[in-house]
Symmetry: D2
Subunit: 283 residues, 4 copies
Amino acid sequence: MYTLDKFSTVVEQYKVVFFDAFGVLKSYNGLIPGIIETFEYLKATDREYYIVTNDASRSPMQLAEAYHRLGLHAVDQERIISSGMIAKEYLDLKVNDGIVAYLGTEDSAHYIERSGLQALPVGAINDNNIDQVNAVVLLDDEGFDWFNDINRTVNILRQRTIPAIVANTDNIYPVSGSNNVSIAIGGIAKMIESIVGKKFIRFGKPDSQMFMFAYDQIRARRSISKKEILMVGDTLHTDIIGGNKFGIDTVLVLSGNTRPGDAATRISSTGIVPTYVCQEAVI
Amino acid sequence: MYTLDKFSTVVEQYKVVFFDAFGVLKSYNGLIPGIIETFEYLKATDREYYIVTNDASRSPMQLAEAYHRLGLHAVDQERIISSGMIAKEYLDLKVNDGIVAYLGTEDSAHYIERSGLQALPVGAINDNNIDQVNAVVLLDDEGFDWFNDINRTVNILRQRTIPAIVANTDNIYPVSGSNNVSIAIGGIAKMIESIVGKKFIRFGKPDSQMFMFAYDQIRARRSISKKEILMVGDTLHTDIIGGNKFGIDTVLVLSGNTRPGDAATRISSTGIVPTYVCQEAVI
Amino acid sequence: MYTLDKFSTVVEQYKVVFFDAFGVLKSYNGLIPGIIETFEYLKATDREYYIVTNDASRSPMQLAEAYHRLGLHAVDQERIISSGMIAKEYLDLKVNDGIVAYLGTEDSAHYIERSGLQALPVGAINDNNIDQVNAVVLLDDEGFDWFNDINRTVNILRQRTIPAIVANTDNIYPVSGSNNVSIAIGGIAKMIESIVGKKFIRFGKPDSQMFMFAYDQIRARRSISKKEILMVGDTLHTDIIGGNKFGIDTVLVLSGNTRPGDAATRISSTGIVPTYVCQEAVI
Amino acid sequence: MYTLDKFSTVVEQYKVVFFDAFGVLKSYNGLIPGIIETFEYLKATDREYYIVTNDASRSPMQLAEAYHRLGLHAVDQERIISSGMIAKEYLDLKVNDGIVAYLGTEDSAHYIERSGLQALPVGAINDNNIDQVNAVVLLDDEGFDWFNDINRTVNILRQRTIPAIVANTDNIYPVSGSNNVSIAIGGIAKMIESIVGKKFIRFGKPDSQMFMFAYDQIRARRSISKKEILMVGDTLHTDIIGGNKFGIDTVLVLSGNTRPGDAATRISSTGIVPTYVCQEAVI
């Protein structure tokens, strides 16, 4: 059904490369072996790169530090576009004042506080301050009590006609050391949305805002055509269809969510067709 | 859009009456005032009745005792058909041995144990016993840790190809003393089902099994036509469409989920049309 | 993932057998070779059987005649339970007068006319008679102009607060002489339902009414336990989950919708587990 | 629930205005009375404007000519961003050769032909040329035979692993001279997508590409902030949530899909909150 291409012969045809993070650069065992050399090659050949990630659990600085600790120094803060950043941009533009209630860790609230708004965990919303809540932001699946705070979120959204923003559209994420998964905030968001019957605003791949954000940053420095950009990802439903829809070429790598044995079936059953398939993002 | 009928002039046309429980017989303030007299009338005029309830949190005996404590002695165990009973029947017929893992309170596990199967809360399933799990049953939204046990349920169902049974199809239920709601196990079930991508088996209105169960009990004693049965409920999406589809006449009462001010809009927007609308199930 | 059982060793354990029609008894090449002998065996061993089919395009008499023309004389009218019959029962019980507008062939309208109601094709509904339309029934994908009559159905249901009944829940059906399919009325119904935002009433597997209808016919003559009934079908989402949910044992045959090469994957990905898997319903 | 603002006091706060077309500039009775003066005001005060429309049935030139014939000369081809244009951009970037099969009028095929690709109506695809089909584009609900060509589209997409592009996400559109509607290609696309089980690529509001397209055109000429742009639309689910998500202010006008009597209910039930509500886009 597909030809397996060498990553080096694919990447050399492009001037800019966008990478998904988990399953492409790293896994639960640490960095994908050889990934440091990939970035050395990109730097040596003057190719630009961005990490485009559905991760709103930590700030770009914290995300970059995690790569540095693993030895991947090429990924610094300026190279990371997270879905949390797009949510922050929304809050900057569309929410002027009041409280933003959030589901997530304290780290994830960084994106709200940077907007100059008052971030309060959903668990801190009560009858006295609910009237000042002007947005609810769903950032991460950890950092709160599921029973109390998911139900509280439902009731805040029943009581207040305000936007609900989802900063990570993933439904599940893999859990360390097994084939197990955990429900991500995107999966919880779908349940809450269906129960309150309101329309949530989602940021993250496959939506094009992160691609546009990176594209704008490049265009601010030099001229670039979408034909010169490559998106590298391990997930058909986010990385590949998102890149395709944005109009850039895409490569599916088999080092994460999509296993070598499943790739052909998944491509034909979903109709989401990457431009290339490579074993991993390694030169 | 609709005519408000007197409940007494409706009920006198039928020989058997099915009642939903919450919002019809009782609310968070206790019994609906006048409901005791309704059952006195039914008894005095030799009309048969059943309580048909999407409740798998407690056994019919426990449910009946709660009515007795409120002073409604006419509702005894034999008059109650719960969705848990239908789930139990499924387990009796289709699961022969092994462990049945459940989400719910200890009381709700009654329905599994009555089937002679080993009931274990999802939280007690681990690598040592997961291979003996032959069904997962979702009974109630309380009695477990949402974060740990919902995620564990996802992983059990990813690992084992076994049926998942939902014994209460409601998405939400009202919470005492306010306009607030809580997510019911039916809402949680939809999230898990969507995440694991498998097809769950649901018992409870609007499905017809409970109606059939009651209908069979009546037919075992005497001949009856569906034209002689009335379903009384407060919810269009369960009681009314379920009764309609089963082929019996239906009355929507405005003492619970459907408020007087919303009834006309909801009927026309859903296309779920009760045979009658009454203020409440009171003579 | 599954063991392939001999159909004869399966069927001999049961007293009653329910069969799906297409993909089990016949295909586009005519009868499944050997199926006549299956029914000879059932008759010789006094096993009872019913054909339980999501087909509302023709009357049971017409359906039976088609089997007779193919040489399968054991399938007569009394042995066929069609989803159209369940829709007819609904109309008998719940629609008292007026016009029933339908999408389908003239043959399919048989089910409405048998109820003593006035059946008019959707194309015959206009400003003069729309106020007398008391139900819309979706019977078959042929016999009408899709563009005009699907749009007309949408507008009837926007204008009138009346039940919409779907008498065949299948989404697609195979088309002669190729791997191609055609959209069935169940697929069209989902589009219309989503567009008008109303809740349709569906009859057909996986719902239990047809199983119950057959079960009642048997019980009228003799005592039977659900443990003694076997459902034979080629489709996991209708025959197998429907039979499982009704509480009877099920056998998936690989002569129709589910191909031998796909069966294991489909069972594990859907979580719909038949009691047995057999190559075909042939002794 | 909302305050009705004067359109003039809203619009004077912005430097650029995006308008939806149908329900905002025109209705089936022709231009919205007073709309010509709105554009005179915009020109006189040096405000820039774009028409941002989910319409792929005709080229921007044909769309502009229709406005000119109605007397609205301010709307010329360069001011119109259609969802068809975004689909064309996708084809330019992602489909290199072969046949693009389409559902729609001949006029709508303009968008494909402009890409230098061979456009063939779905009805012209057969066993001889199906292997050269490299994309399917759904453009308009007219210009083809629904029964034959919708089924043919299903079968092309079952046979070929290629992208399916939907160039108009609307589900319905109003029909002249009545309260009736017609199913739009977006509604048909959902049915086909659900039946083939593949993921389609959609262009049109609420997605941000059209907004980005207009935004890029403005930025090519001068500096602009999203805070200086206003989106004017009559539909919460496309214009308003799309504008909100793109980060610009939005005004809901009550001259089209959202009636004055429904606006408050719809805003609170959907949670889609416009920055302003105005009677119509008239100074």
